[in-house]
């Protein structure tokens, strides 16, 4: 009988202890949530005060226009240098809760690159008016492209933490200015096919091309942007515009594979 009493008492105490532990855990979590909310509120908007605002972004653009994946005919990239420029824009955002929101913006950008590559048996044709030279080129190619225009991104916004925000969504671009030109040299063209007439194209007398007029004026793709709050109202950000549309028009045959613009912007943003 005495034993039973002990057991009951032990059970009661342990239940009380459990309850007490739960209580303290809950208060700790509440405290943390409050801390987090306070932290979120400190670093940016929350649903409590409407969750709307603007971000003004200024950055520098680097990247390139490239076929994806690189065709086997491209043997070696000898040189690459971004020929970007600045990017300036404004995003408006709206949070629906503490973490999730939506943003849309308008940005002016300058993009570009300079690249040199060795190619082997690279199917190409150059169209000049009604004349066409086509065949397989082995040698060196140097390409330079520049574009400037406006981009409208529409992105879902997710706050990973108080200071980190990730944005992901589609973008649409309009190029006001665009050019794409270059030259081939130090190699030869087999006219028509690999068994055709060999035409030597030397470094002394390269063949120039200019496909600027064959570029689209509109493009689209996916944008990913990561913001980090350095201090109140000030972010640093990195964003990547991954083009999903060929930079050339559909009826453009000269470059036999699609070329996609893939450009990153690094910069600072002011938000309020």
């Amino acid at each position: 009988m005495k034993r039973l009493k002990y057991i009951l008492m032990t059970l009661c105490f342990s239940a009380a202890g459990l309850l007490q532990a739960q209580e303290s855990m809950k208060s700790l979590m509440d405290e943390r949530r409050e801390n987090r909310e306070a932290n979120y509120a400190k670093w940016g908007p929350t649903s409590e005060h409407d969750g709307m605002g603007f971000i003004v972004r200024a950055g520098y653009v680097i990247g390139g226009t490239s076929p994806l994946p690189l065709p086997a005919e491209i043997r070696k990239i000898n040189e690459f240098s971004p020929k970007g420029g600045f990017s300036l824009g404004i995003d408006g955002y709206k949070y629906f809760n503490m973490r999730w929101g939506l943003s849309a913006g308008l940005r002016f950008f300058m993009q570009g690159m300079h690249t040199g590559a060795n190619v082997k048996n690279y199917g190409m044709s150059i169209v000049m008016g009604e004349d066409i030279v086509s065949g397989n080129f082995t040698g060196t190619d140097i390409t330079e492209t520049r574009m400037s225009g406006f981009t409208i991104p529409v992105m879902a916004t997710y706050r990973v933490g108080a200071r980190w925000t990730f944005n992901l969504g589609p973008y649409f671009s309009y190029w006001i200015y665009r050019d794409f030109d270059g030259h081939v040299f130090d190699g030869y063209l087999r006219e028509g096919s690999p068994v055709g007439q060999k035409i030597t194209i030397s470094a002394d007398n390269p063949a120039f091309y200019d496909f600027s007029d064959d570029m689209r004026s509109c493009s689209w793709g996916m944008e990913f942007c990561a913001d980090f709050r350095v201090r109140e109202h000030l972010n640093v950000f990195g964003l990547l515009d991954w083009g999903l549309s060929d930079v050339f028009k559909d009826d453009f045959q000269t470059v036999t594979f699609p070329m996609y613009p893939i450009y990153a912007t690094l910069g600072v943003a002011y938000y309020y």
């Binding site: 043997r75 690459f80 009604e130 690999p194 060999k198 030397s202 990195g238 690094l266």
Partner: protein
Amino acid sequence: MRKIFFGLSLAAILGLVSCIQDEPLNAECDIEQAVVVTDDAEAWLLNASEAVQDVPSADTTIVFYLREEFMDENYEGWDRLKDVAINFRLTPGATITPENGSAHDFTQGGVYYHVTSEDGAWQRNYHVMFIPVQPLTVTYDFENFRWESLERYCEWFEYSDQGNEINMWATANPGFAISKSSATPEEFPTIPWENESISGHSVKLETRDTGLFGVMMNMRIAAGNLFIGTFDVANALQDAMAATRFGLPFNKKPLRFEGYYKFKPGEKFQNRTGVIQEGWVDDPDLYAVLYENTDENGQSFTLQGDNVLTHPNIVALARVTDRVHDFDNWTHFDIPFEYYKEIDEERLKTYGYNLSVVFTSSIEGGAFCGAVGSTLLVDEVKVTCEDEDE
């Protein structure tokens, strides 16, 4: 933090660079060079340098010329042609059947070789022949022409005394075909011309605009030309002066160069960069040149665009110098060869000289200067030689 972003973006770009795929196997299947295995080339081949031939990329026929004695079908030397080995230099990775360097009987019209590319996707058939030297003919009426294989433009040839076709005439038409793929056969710089001739056809040479490709290559015009020699299309864009290879082996002493022509200059003379030169009037050029076809080391030598009138190997020249601009009437010319050196009879006998006869509608066409529309008609040309049976 910015460094991290910069690093990430750079990694993305380098990522693209590092996706370079495995090198594709070679798709080409050329015989680049053919070398006859022999210790005494001079005893049976036309000359010492004949045993080694660089094969132009467009050619699938390789001809080794034999000494004049082989013109006699019963000449005992033919026996050695029953067992001749040739070494071929192929595109790397390409394979050849019959086996490279194997000995074959070349007395039965030659041997066919089959070359397959490293990737197995492309093949070419080559016909290798040994034939007696074909002496150049000396009267030209420009009636023998045919379509090239793709029927874009015409090629001229002559018949030897034995009735064989001799492909002695070359034009820059193959180069024009590259730059103006849209050109119709009548729009080529050098075409057969029936409307005006002394008899049958004459040949019409007209300086043409090479279009946007010409601008791209800084070769804005193509003068009409016709010459004894070969045109090396592979070099046409790289070094145009080296692409016109003037002259073929000849064994007579030329004395006079005669024939008929009509010429009218195009309206606007332009320089290489396309700038119109006010007051400049275009001229044609017609000449015949004889020169030593080996250099001081005994290697074969060929005159080309930039030295055809100036090289010290030149032995004799006959050039039309008064250049009449009259397109209504035929102008007759009859010019004696002016000799700068004595003819070496031994050299002459062994085809140690080359003869070229050259016509062009723009005198500076080789340097891509001239007037688009300059037109030269030529007909009934003859090179009179010493000891020739009239």
